[in-house]
Amino acid sequence: MTESAAPNVATREPILTARNLVKTFGRVVGLDGVSLDLYPGEVLAIIGDNGAGKSTLIKCLTGAEVPDSGELTVSGQPVHFKRPQDARVHGIETVYQNLAVSPALDVASNLFLGREERRAGILGSVFRMLDTKGMRLKAKQELTRLGISTLQDVTVPVENLSGGQRQAVAVARAAAFGSKVVVLDEPTAALGVRESNQVLQLVRDLRDRGLPVILISHNMPHVFDVADRIHIQRLGKCAATITPQSHNMTDAVAIMTGAATA
């Protein structure tokens, strides 16, 4: 069905599929029957107005919210994510819009939160001692790789970072550990020009390594720059799925705002 939209993925099996996801909050409709397919090695952008349900959609895909109804599969197998670590176990790494960092923990601890590395030898195996030094070193490397040059001290608590620095930490975390799917909810919202470009480059790198990426962004040039396909959310539904080839930015915005249909 997505033949014309993404010809390059037509023959492959999707890694992640969602069918008819519904999510309500009291009287508010977050998602109203949304379906989505993610193919290996593609960048799928999700765009839409504020409150269109983009974050809710990816929360349902990654275990942060449990949908009221709908089905999910990963590599063809049905899954039920009850919590984020369920999705993580399936190799899905996510940067949430609210960043989900621990303010009082330092940068390195945040990067490795939930998958800390232990010291070699019995210090690690018996005493389960953390390899703090090693993790700090790797954290530094990862940040450098992302071009976050203003942040040299990885022992600073995250709460003391600038808005963009904080976001860089969250992105670095997902990029460092994503094994099957990487999901980024507005990863460049607070980033500077250079840092944004670095993140876009990272997205391309991930795709080139065969890892599919879901990218939420309000920045149309960015989206049209890296996306293979674009899922447009509108009022809790998927209004259309297009490609940068089939539509231009003005078309996309028109669909997003309801001025046109795909």
Binding site: G26, D68, H247, A262
Partner: protein, 348 residues
């Protein structure tokens, strides 16, 4: 632009698939929505359940005299819990509420009885004591940025010591006091019941504070400061002024509590109600106010105080021995809040 297939089903108007999940659709969820909007409704239901159950266990429980007794038994802790609610709403905690009340009550009683001051003057002095205590707490919290827990732990000791030094450990009997001081202990008939003046004073305080918290700018600022102090500061709220005024208001409420306490026990005793601190916090928390500040209401607190009072009285009327009463109170407190949570179905 070319026509595209949509990934989702053809869009046929808003909220079709979601329809069945929309809360407004079922009566049950309509109730839940009400509970979300008026969080005090759910402790009220818990209270109702408790009253019905105890009424079934012992037919004396529902007699008007007994119900009136329960309100009297909670009148002091209920008043202290108002002050506690104010402080907790600002993300603080006040361990000194009991001590301030006692200090104030001793000052009132001694000034009237030993120093022969006219009753209104003595009461005014008690109010000043309450305000001074609140001012001290507030000053330390705002000026030195000390955690309220530590400040009030410190002043708790200070107020206890002052009370004992001032009173010499002696209780002042109500019979020696001018009538005005024990006026809060008098009762008046309303139909078949006798209502205690102290209870009425407490209820009026609830009405006043509920109004101020809910309907005035000051009240809104109290919530904002407790919710996120830094955000409130950036929004241009004079955080320290708000905090200071909260501690002063709490002090005034505690002075009124002292008056109610004198009437209730018909005495001013330097060692009364030292565990009123924990009891007042308990009432606040059972009433649904968050210890992290910014969320809750004073009506919830009243219900929380009544719930505990009903448990204590109901269990003892049901004929349980003291140790089993303790056990049951423990179980019931947990149960009450569980039911409350269940009714609200709060999602993390």
């Amino acid at each position: 632009m070319t026509q595209q297939q949509t990934a989702g089903p053809p869009s046929a108007g808003h909220a079709d698939l979601a329809e069945e999940f929309l809360d407004r659709q079922t009566p049950l969820s309509r109730i839940r929505n009400i509970l979300h909007r008026y969080p005090a409704v759910s402790p009220a239901l818990v209270l109702l359940i408790a009253v019905v159950v105890f009424g079934l266990l012992n037919d004396r429980f529902l007699r008007v005299e007994n119900l009136s007794l329960i309100t009297q038994q909670v009148s002091v802790v209920g008043t202290l819990a108002i002050a506690q609610t104010l402080i907790i709403l600002t993300a603080g905690i006040d361990l000194s509420v009991g001590a301030v009340m006692i200090l104030s009550s001793m000052v009132v009683a001694q000034l009237a009885v030993n120093n022969g001051l006219p009753a209104p003057v003595a009461l005014l002095a008690g109010l000043i004591v309450g305000l001074a205590a609140g001012a001290l707490n507030g000053f330390l919290v705002t000026r030195f940025r000390l955690p309220p827990f530590i400040v009030t732990l410190g002043t708790l000791n200070i107020f206890i010591a002052l009370t004992l030094l001032y009173s010499n450990g002696a209780t002042v009997r109500g019979s020696a006091m001018p009538d005005l001081l024990t006026w809060t202990g008098t009762t008046f008939p309303v139909g078949p019941v006798r209502i205690s003046t102290g209870v009425v004073v407490m209820l009026l305080l609830y009405v006043a504070i509920a109004f101020i918290l809910g309907k005035t700018a000051w009240g809104r600022h109290v919530y904002a400061v407790g919710d996120d102090k830094e955000a409130a500061r950036l929004a241009g709220i004079a955080v320290n002024k708000v905090l200071m005024s909260v501690y002063l208001a709490a002090g005034a409420v505690l002075a009124i509590g002292a008056w109610i306490q004198i009437g209730r026990t018909n005495a001013a005793s330097p060692n009364a109600g030292m565990d009123l601190n924990l009891d007042s916090i308990t009432a606040v928390v059972i009433g649904g106010t968050s210890l992290f500040g910014g969320r809750g209401s004073v009506w919830g607190t009243l219900l929380g105080a009544l719930i505990v009072g009903v448990f204590r009285n109901g269990l003892s009327l049901a004929g349980l021995d003291v140790l089993y009463q303790t056990l049951a109170v423990g179980v019931l407190i947990i149960l009450a809040v569980s039911i409350d949570q269940w009714i609200r179905k709060v999602k993390s």
